[in-house]
């Protein structure tokens, strides 16, 4: 099914005669392919064109984006390990519930592996070049050799993949992407993937064509500002990530815990020597034990909650930079054409149609990008507020646990004192 936006914006704006945009290419080839689409018995809205109903849906979604009623719910859960002769991999269950007309059934459940997510993301990037595609978690963990099949790693990845799909689901344009639909519903995704390969080569060419070396005159101020912002943002998040890592895992945090674990038992050893002092010393020992348990919980919580979000946003800023670059290319193309026209026919003031179309394309790109940036900014603000408030809460809870532990031994110490 052609993407609604591909139909409404790109296709109409650019037209069919000049350089075919990737969007257009996609849309056309999908149309051809619909007949043989092995959509596993659940062909989700394969034949419906960019109908009024889907447009309506989009409008509704736009209205609902900040409201409570959403019409598409996707969750990733139940990771399973598959051991084959050739390879070992993890698949995740993806459950989709939707009332959208594009989905024939109200509920789908499919299993996908990381590769499939990666495939989805590439398709989205190709078919929606003007949009910011959410990042996937890195293929491998950046630092250290981590067991890819460890429960901890798989769970972290599952969460990241869930987040990835939720980000797409929440997006007013991306959530209607054909590939996304297939990804959520197709029984046999591999068959579908194979059909796309020939197509891919052509798309690659067209992108190359566009990239043809033209140096951009100047980035509009607002996009230059976004670029600068992203550079600084990624830098700061990187620093925060390193600080958090230091606090939690490496060097300091872990070693503090190690020392604390040794510190408590020393009081126990001492208490074995004493008569009257035995109980207070034992109390202090137990107290330090409680504190180190609380500390361990704190670092676990921060590891689970803080780090993935930081990662996601660092990757997000890379995606964003990629989109900015693509936008620059479109602008460059337009400027090159404009210049060529100016050189050829200076006497003719009328600008050729294809240049106009190119300009339209650029403006559409700008509009899409701006909208996505705004959406991203608001998401980011929301996410970080939640994240940092959570961080503060965890720390407060940690200190409250320690406080309780220490306060509880005060009466023990004083009672003995008075009894004496």
């Amino acid at each position: 099914m052609p993407h609604p936006l591909a139909g409404s914006s790109s296709e109409e704006a650019v037209g069919g005669d000049s350089t075919p945009s990737p969007d257009l290419l996609m849309a056309r080839s999908f149309g051809d392919k619909d007949l043989i689409l092995p959509n596993g018995g659940t062909p989700a809205g394969t034949s419906s064109p960019a109908s009024s109903s889907s447009l309506l849906n989009r409008l509704q979604l736009d209205d609902d984006i900040d409201g409570e009623t959403r019409d598409l719910f996707v969750t990733v859960d139940d990771p399973k390990k598959h051991v084959c002769t050739m390879e070992t991999y993890i698949t995740y269950r993806i459950t989709t519930k939707s009332t959208r007309v594009e989905f024939d059934l109200p509920e789908y459940s499919v299993r996908r592996r990381y590769q499939d997510f990666d495939w989805l993301r590439s398709r989205l990037e190709e078919s929606q070049p003007t949009h910011l595609i959410p990042p996937l978690p890195e293929k491998f963990v950046v630092k250290g050799v981590v067991d890819r099949f460890s429960e901890e790693f798989v769970e972290t990845r599952r969460k990241a993949l869930d987040k990835f799909l939720k980000r797409i689901t929440d997006h007013p344009v991306l959530s209607f992407n054909e590939h996304f639909n297939v990804f959520l519903t197709a029984k046999d995704l591999n068959a579908y993937k194979k059909q796309g390969i020939a197509l891919l080569a052509r798309v690659g060419e067209s992108v190359k064509h566009v990239t043809g070396g033209y140096k951009l005159r100047s980035r509009p101020l607002e996009f230059a500002a976004i670029g600068d912002y992203l550079d600084t943002f990624a830098l700061k998040l990187g620093t925060i990530d390193r600080i958090a890592q230091r606090i939690i895992k490496e060097e300091i945090g872990a070693e503090y815990l190690v020392e604390l674990r040794e510190y408590g038992p020393v009081y126990s050893t001492w208490s074995a020597l004493e008569g009257e002092l035995a109980e207070p010393l034992e109390g202090v020992s137990a107290c330090i034990g409680n504190c180190s348990t609380a500390l361990e919980e704190l670092t676990d919580d921060i590891t689970e909650e803080l780090l993935p979000v930081l990662r996601e946003y660092i990757l997000y800023s890379d995606s964003m930079k990629g989109v900015l670059k693509k936008r620059d290319q479109v602008q460059a193309e337009y400027e090159a054409k404009l210049e060529a026209v100016a050189l050829r026919k200076e006497e003719r003031p009328k600008v050729p149609a294809d240049v106009e179309k190119c300009q339209d394309r650029m403006e559409c790109f700008n509009a899409d990008l701006k909208a996505d940036m705004e959406r991203w900014q608001s998401n980011k603000r929301h996410d970080f507020r939640q994240l940092l408030v959570g961080l503060a809460d965890k720390n407060i809870q940690y200190y409250e646990k320690c406080l309780m532990a220490w306060e509880s031994i005060i009466p023990l110490l004083q009672e003995k004192q008075e009894a004496k």
């Binding site: 943002f233 600080i243 300091i252 604390l260 020393v266 020597l273 940092l388 110490l413």
Partner: protein
């Protein structure tokens, strides 16, 4: 420093002393209680010694060597020039009631003089667990803290330690009546000479020699063996504790200081954010506060470490008493042995039978029998020696019993003091931890407020 109002009732009492005031509030409080506890039996001891050095208030303040040079140039010449600039003097001022009037003495003491005083006390009061001096060099400190002996914080902590030492001696039921101690507090010049005149060094030297000799006590007192064992264990556990605590402090310091980096990044980040900017900026400020709060926290904890250190050194003092007891027991056993062998000799001479092979037996065989006169004379000498030995043994036995009695009384007193002090130290440690937790909660609550406004 707060001045205690003179209490006429207390002044009239023959109580040993009433030390008050001083910066080490907790320790002073403990000392105060100590004096309270000893007052009951105080009068009895008082009349025994006849010395009534009545210290009302002790104040010690420290100042550095430079300030001292002009004041007491003669003393400075004695010190090794290499240590001249590093030498630290302590001004000891004492307020004490002499009959009706209240006198204030203020004089200079060097660390070595404190050491001399303690060594003297160790020799003259073998049955007393003599309070330890604070460490001369900083030990068991977490690395961020300066280990420099001239570091003001360290000098201040040592000053508190020395003051504590004097208060401990002053509140001790026996030590407080010592003349040399009294002079230490009141007589600046010639004090060292006075100490040396007591000849304690000689006594100490001979004792030391005996201590160094490997001696084996046949019938060790079980209580003292246990006590010695206890002091060994106490020493090892406290030093372990201090080491680990220093490491914990190091790590904790690191954790807090790394949070300071959050402060920096948040405020840098805030520069590029519109809506989130203000929240991040002020949250960053709170992180800075959090990071710097650790300095005070650990500074406070150092006092706890000092309290533990005092008992680490007390363990050594406890062991010294045990050693002295062993020495005494050894003396007693050698005397008993000596007496026994003399008695045997005497018996042999009287009966003419030689039970064991001896040189004397050989000479007898070789050179013929002694004349009866000679034998008589020798028996007489031996009998005299036996008499003497018996007297000696008796007095040694008495001395030993007296020692055990006194030593045990002091050990009991020490145990009580230890339990009370350490419990207080633990309470104050817990209170410190509580205040640290409260600070942490406060800072993070403030930060949370900033975050939630973003």
């Amino acid at each position: 420093m707060e001045q205690a109002p003179p209490d006429p009732e207390k002044l009239l009492q023959p109580a040993p002393l009433e030390p008050l005031g001083g910066p080490g509030a907790v320790l002073v409080a403990a000392v105060g209680e100590e004096a309270e506890g000893t007052r009951e039996d105080g009068s009895g001891v008082d009349t025994m010694t006849g010395n009534n050095f009545w210290l009302k208030k002790i104040e010690i303040s420290v100042s550095e060597a430079e300030k001292r040079t002009g004041r007491n140039a003669v003393n400075m010449q004695e010190t090794d020039t290499a240590y001249l600039c590093r030498d630290t003097g302590f001004s000891v001022s004492v307020e004490h009631a002499d009959g009706q009037s209240v006198l204030t003495d203020s004089l200079w003491r060097r660390y070595s003089e404190f050491e001399l005083l303690r060594n003297y006390l160790l020799v003259y009061y073998p049955h007393v667990v003599v309070p330890p001096l604070p460490e001369k060099r900083a030990e068991f400190v977490w690395h961020k803290l300066s280990a420099d002996n001239m570091d003001p914080d360290f000098v201040e902590r040592r000053r508190i330690g020395l003051e504590n030492f004097l208060l401990r001696v002053a509140s001790h039921p026996v030590l407080c009546r010592d003349k040399i101690f009294y002079l230490f507090l009141t007589q600046e010049g010639n004090w060292k000479e006075t100490v040396n005149e007591t000849g304690f060094q000689l006594k100490a030297d001979s004792r030391l020699k005996a201590l160094n000799a490997t001696f084996r006590v046949k019938n060790p007192d079980k209580r003292f063996t246990e006590l010695r064992h206890y002091s060994d264990e106490l020493q090892s556990v406290i030093s372990h504790l201090l080491r680990v605590r220093a490491r914990v402090a190091d790590r904790l310091y690191g954790v807090y200081k790394v949070h300071g980096n959050y402060g920096r990044v948040f405020s840098e980040w805030s520069a590029i954010e519109k809506e989130m900017g203000d929240g991040l900026q002020s949250a960053g400020h709170h992180m800075d506060v959090y990071a710097s709060s650790i300095d005070d926290i650990l500074e406070d904890e150092e006092h706890y470490a000092d309290q533990l250190k005092e008992y680490l050194f007390y363990a050594e003092a406890l062991r010294a008493v045990c050693r002295k007891h062993e020495l005494m027991q050894y003396d007693l056993e050698t005397a008993a042995q000596d007496l026994a062998s003399k008695k045997q000799q005497c018996e042999e001479l009287a009966t003419g039978t030689v039970r064991t092979f001896s040189l004397k037996g050989m000479t007898t065989k070789l050179f013929g029998q002694e004349t009866p006169e000679q034998r008589e004379a020798r028996i007489k000498v031996l009998e005299e020696q036996i008499n003497e030995g018996e007297q000696q043994l008796k007095s040694k036995n008495l001395e030993g019993r007296e020692f055990v009695k006194n030593a045990w009384a002091d050990i009991e007193r020490f145990k009580e003091q230890k339990n009370r002090d350490l419990k207080e130290a633990l309470i104050s440690y817990a209170v410190m931890q509580i205040s640290m937790c409260k600070k942490g909660i406060q800072v993070w609550t403030n930060a949370k407020e900033c975050f939630s406004k973003m």
